[in-house]
Amino acid sequence: MSGLTPAPVVAQGSPPSTWDWEFAGDILPDLLEGLWVTVKLTVLGISLALALGLVLALLRRSRLRVVRWPVGLFIDFIRGTPLLVQLFFLYFVLPDWGIVLSGFEAGVIGLGIHYACYTSETYRAGIESVPRGQWEAATAIHLSGRHTWTSVVLPQAIPTVLPPLGNYVVASFKDAPLAATVTVLGVLGTAQRIQGQTFRGLEPFTLAGLLFLVVSVPASLGVRYLERRYGFKRD
């Protein structure tokens, strides 16, 4: 290999992009503000998803077919269509029916419903992993349906599915930038705006990526901690 001249790294005509610390420092406050919007959107959206997902999972186990059926259909429908379509629907179509949502509201609800349909399946798997004998023991000590769920079934079902639920938390955070399409400028949308105004993409997009990591890595560690904290050993 020695003796050969190295190939030019950058295409001719455009100046090589080098990291500009000063520029990076200038745009950081804007990006942090964008990050805050993204985090708020995610936290609210995934909270809605975790709560609504549990409700959907329980409805899907209803004794009534008229409840079970439409809920199952709804879940399959949402899982089968892109989040982007759902956001457009909430933001651009609902106003035709008199329901006007802000971009942020549409983002929270869209993210919430979308991920609720995934978490509901996860909850369902957790509920089904609770052995039948646990339900029977609850009957033998005369627990009501409500107490059977809250004291026996869910406290066993949820810890076993914390890892996949945690993955959805992180995934929804990474999907949150889609809300930019309904006017919510999070960290990535802000980076794109800066690039549009300054024609420099290296710093804003690199910083945006790093800021995602700064949040999602601790979040993943937090999820792992919860697993250890609330895990228990089955007999």
Binding site: Q134, A140, S144, K233, R234
Partner: protein, 276 residues
């Protein structure tokens, strides 16, 4: 419950072999099927107050299903069950017996509790929480009262020192004794024991049988036990019921059952399970 009014024998006359006055448990013409398989075949069975009845018979004969029907874990297709004078699966409405609403079933069921072959302890709860959960949530006891009851019962089954342990750290015999304490905490009139020593290592069977012996000899509780421990049955039972193919083959006091069974099917079964 697929039964309609016509399936319910309303007559209170006891049609089973041994008439029992004022039974605490009575099953009349109870039929339970799993698909084509008839598990309980028009079964009649009555149990006196505070009687200790041991049900024996080959595996798959439906013994366990009798207990599960009494605990409402399986619902019979036909027939009627009476617990402490009240119909379990039926209620009187407009002077007629009709299929009971869930609320009625839950209410009548309160007289019954059950201990399972595989313990079914709540693994996410401590021994104390396992025993106090029912009294607190279903009986409405306060924390102190429920705790007090749990301590007494764990004392009785010899596990007072394990009160703050989780089930995973207990041996099989200890788990089953906690499960017995958990059921006793509900103060049932009728206690069902479903092969409670079958899942235990041989050296752990004795400690569980000792607890059952104590309960049989020192309480007024009605006990129905399905077991393969014939010596134990002989020792504690007031009556032994030989059960096969969904029906009672014969029933006698233990001495008679084990020394002079009348039916060939019983003799064959006992030959197979009793050590010579």
């Amino acid at each position: 419950m697929a039964s309609s009014e016509t399936d319910v024998p309303v007559a209170t006359a006891d049609t089973s072999g041994a008439p029992v006055a004022d039974p605490i448990v009575r099953m009349e013409a109870v039929t339970k099927r799993f698909g084509d398989h008839v598990v309980l075949d028009c079964l009649d069975l009555a149990v006196r107050r505070s009687e200790k009845v041991v049900i024996i018979g080959p595996s798959g004969s439906g013994k366990t299903t009798i207990l599960r029907v009494l605990m409402t874990l399986e619902r019979p297709e036909q027939g009627a069950v009476w617990i402490d004078g009240r119909p379990l699966y039926h209620e009187v409405r407009d002077g007629r017996l009709v299929a009971a609403r869930e609320k009625h079933v839950r209410d009548v069921r309160r007289a019954v509790s059950m201990v399972f072959q595989h313990f079914n302890l709540f693994p996410h709860k401590t021994v104390r929480q396992n025993v106090t959960l029912g009294p607190r949530k279903a009986l409405g006891l306060g924390r102190d009262e429920a705790d007090q009851r749990a301590r007494e019962l764990l004392e009785r089954v010899g596990l007072a020192d394990k009160i703050d342990q989780y089930p995973v750290s207990l041996s099989g015999g200890q788990k089953q004794r906690v499960a017995i304490a958990r059921a006793l905490a509900m103060q049932p009139k009728v206690m069902l024991f479903d092969e409670v020593t079958s899942a235990l290592d041989p050296e752990l069977v004795g400690e569980v049988l000792a607890v059952l012996r104590d309960l049989a000899q020192h309480t007024e509780m009605t006990m129905l036990l399905v077991t393969h421990e014939m010596r134990f049955a002989e020792e504690i039972a007031d009556r032994v019921v030989m059960f096969d193919a969904g029906r009672v083959v014969e029933e006698h006091p233990p001495a008679e059952m084990f020394s002079a069974p009348r039916e060939e099917r019983t003799r064959a079964f006992l030959r197979a399970v009793l050590p010579r």
